[in-house]
């Protein structure tokens, strides 16, 4: 049912396995602030976002603050109700299903949050936190105890941690608890929103490594949302780059990073400082002018045109569509890189 309405993603790779998650024309318009007489126009945080996630793969979602990547992530697991478009999980539309009917499905897609402390109840023990999704699924007490023990070991914690509270852990350990909770119901998909950006550099690698190992062991698919392009490159199979609520480029990781088609992707990659002073002195750097614009008042045409070094007249008036520029890769630009 979803594959029929998914010409975009499947055209890229006809031999691809059926999508685990398919996202079509997803949009979110937040209501504007109340004015004196009427509401001011809404803020279009996400607009026309379309992609697929295949079983067991990692799709990286990158972009700068305000680009809509977190809003998209929350809609994928229905923590937010989209105002347009559709998200299907294993062919079943989850955007319009009433919440009570969604519950049995919820065990199959979970979320990991950025701030491990804010997302764990400070008054619950680790045991209670990890058990919560299992209880919600109506599992028996015995079964839950055994499962929770397995889960803490799986994420590299010890059973003696179970009776402690979140504040007794470091940031990295707290994130492990969040991961254990997300995996409790053995989901097929986990949406991870900036799961390592609050952690120290030496701890980030531990968590990224853990997520990779868990994927290999459990076959779980990830949507990995982050602003750190190096982390996303490391963990992802495919990458989508967002700018002002839209996907401007999506494709296989190696292609997107080695030969970016969209000028924004190119500039973004060139702005990341490399931990290599010799390379830093010589490499070509595209310094974009200005800040990312506000989604409350987006520029006309291609929303990137005011900062784009390649902008022509057509870019100011016509919004480019996401089109295939190479096998397995799409970009939304009137003048994509060859």
């Amino acid at each position: 049912m979803t594959t029929e309405t998914a010409p975009l993603a499947d055209a890229a790779d006809p031999g691809a396995p059926a999508a685990l998650l398919s996202v079509r024309d997803l949009g979110m318009t937040f209501p504007g602030p109340r004015g004196t007489l009427r509401r001011r126009p809404g803020i279009r945080a996400v607009d026309g976002v379309t992609f697929d996630v295949r079983p067991g793969e990692t799709l990286g979602l990158v972009g700068e603050s305000g680009c809509g990547k977190s809003t998209t992530g929350r809609m994928l697991v229905r923590l937010l109700d989209p105002t347009a478009g559709r998200v299907s999980f294993r062919g079943q539309d989850i955007t319009t299903t009433p919440q009570h009917r969604l519950r049995p499905l919820r065990s199959r897609f979970q979320m990991i949050f950025q701030d491990p402390f804010a997302s764990l109840n400070p008054r619950q023990t680790v045991q209670q936190i990890i058990a919560a999704p299992l209880r919600a699924q109506g599992e028996g007490k015995q079964r839950i105890r055994a499962e929770v023990r397995d889960l803490v070991r799986l994420v590299g914690l010890a059973p003696e941690h179970l009776e402690r509270y979140p504040h007794q852990f470091s940031g990295g350990q707290a994130q492990r608890i969040g991961i254990a909770r997300a995996l409790a119901t053995r989901p097929e998909l986990v949406v991870a929103d900036e799961p390592v950006s609050a952690l120290d550099v030496s701890i980030q690698a531990q968590i990224v490594g853990l997520m990779e190992r868990l994927q290999a062991e459990l076959g779980v698919a990830y949507v990995f949302i982050a602003h750190d392009l190096a982390v996303v490159k490391h963990i992802s199979h495919r990458v989508a780059v967002m700018y002002l609520g839209r996907i401007v480029e999506i494709g296989d990781k190696q292609q997107v990073y080695d030969h970016p088609a969209h000028p924004y992707t190119k500039a973004l990659l060139s702005a990341v400082p490399l931990p290599d002073p010799a390379a830093e002195r010589t490499r070509e750097r595209i310094v974009l002018l200005g800040d990312p614009p506000s989604p409350a008042n987006p520029p006309s045409g291609c929303t990137f045109h005011p900062r784009c070094p390649k902008a022509q007249d057509v870019c100011r008036t016509e919004a480019p569509l996401l089109t295939l520029t190479a096998p397995g890769r799409q970009a939304a630009c009137h003048f994509p890189e060859a």
Partner: protein, 328 residues
Amino acid sequence: MTSHPLLDVHDLAVEFTTEEGTVRAVKGVDFTVERGRTLGIVGESGSGKSVTSLAVMGLHRGATVTGSAKLDGTELVGAPDDDLRKLRGRRMAMVFQDALTALHPYFTVGDQIAEAYRAHFGGTRRAALARAVDVLGDVGIPEPARRADEHPHQFSGGMRQRAMIALALSCEPDLVIADEPTTALDVTVQAQVLELLMRLQQERGLGIVMITHDLGVIARVADDVLVMYGGSAAEQAPADTLFTTPRHPYTRGLLDSLPRLDAEDGAELRSIPGSPPSLLAPPAGCAFHPRCAVYAAKPDARCTGERPLLRTVADGHRSACVHDEVTA
């Protein structure tokens, strides 16, 4: 006159007394900053990198600072508040991570810069405001005269950071300490702000201390690097040397655990096990030994005995590891 370095820090230590005991946040660091050069201080949370800079500026509250920090020959540690106040802003200035917190929300950006300028140079309010507009222009804020009349919340993140740099530069200091100045910014804006700092440094011969956790930023701007861990210096070297031939197991672990844009596909991340140490109950001996790969492979009583001191391992390159002869 220029016989001594711009900033000369020697055996600087900072202690806090808390309810749970004494925290030795910085345990004796040494470094110098020359005019026109950038020292990068890199470390994780609790490494003491920010506390070091606050101690230099005399901005620590309730801490005991010992050792020495000389700005152009003038001792800062233990100097009377009045003397420090005359130096802060005028000879040395600070750029913070969060400009929205560091700037006053109630006053216009122009007024805040003008106030700082008048505190040191006096003169009329009008002249000081004109100066504020000048420096806002210098840091690349478009329409500086109009923006000077706006409040910090009306600025975007990048513009706000520029405004804070303008505030820091308004009295033409010799030394700027920047504590994670681009951490809260998007990468494209970070690139702009780093570019700006480097341009201003070239134009004015500023000495810069750049404090960050981001090794990429260090590689981009620093001439020399100080790597801190658990309140001590782990390694000190010219930037090129540090990245090509890191000596301390912590520095090497940090570089190996970094996901890199320029990495080969499928390159493995080798993470450092464990977490940064608690400053309340630091490990005995080398603060890094519980996480150290060298120690794990070959436990050594020297690692758990005394805190290792920095030793010169090559020209201008110092490392605080008892195993250096093995790891070199």
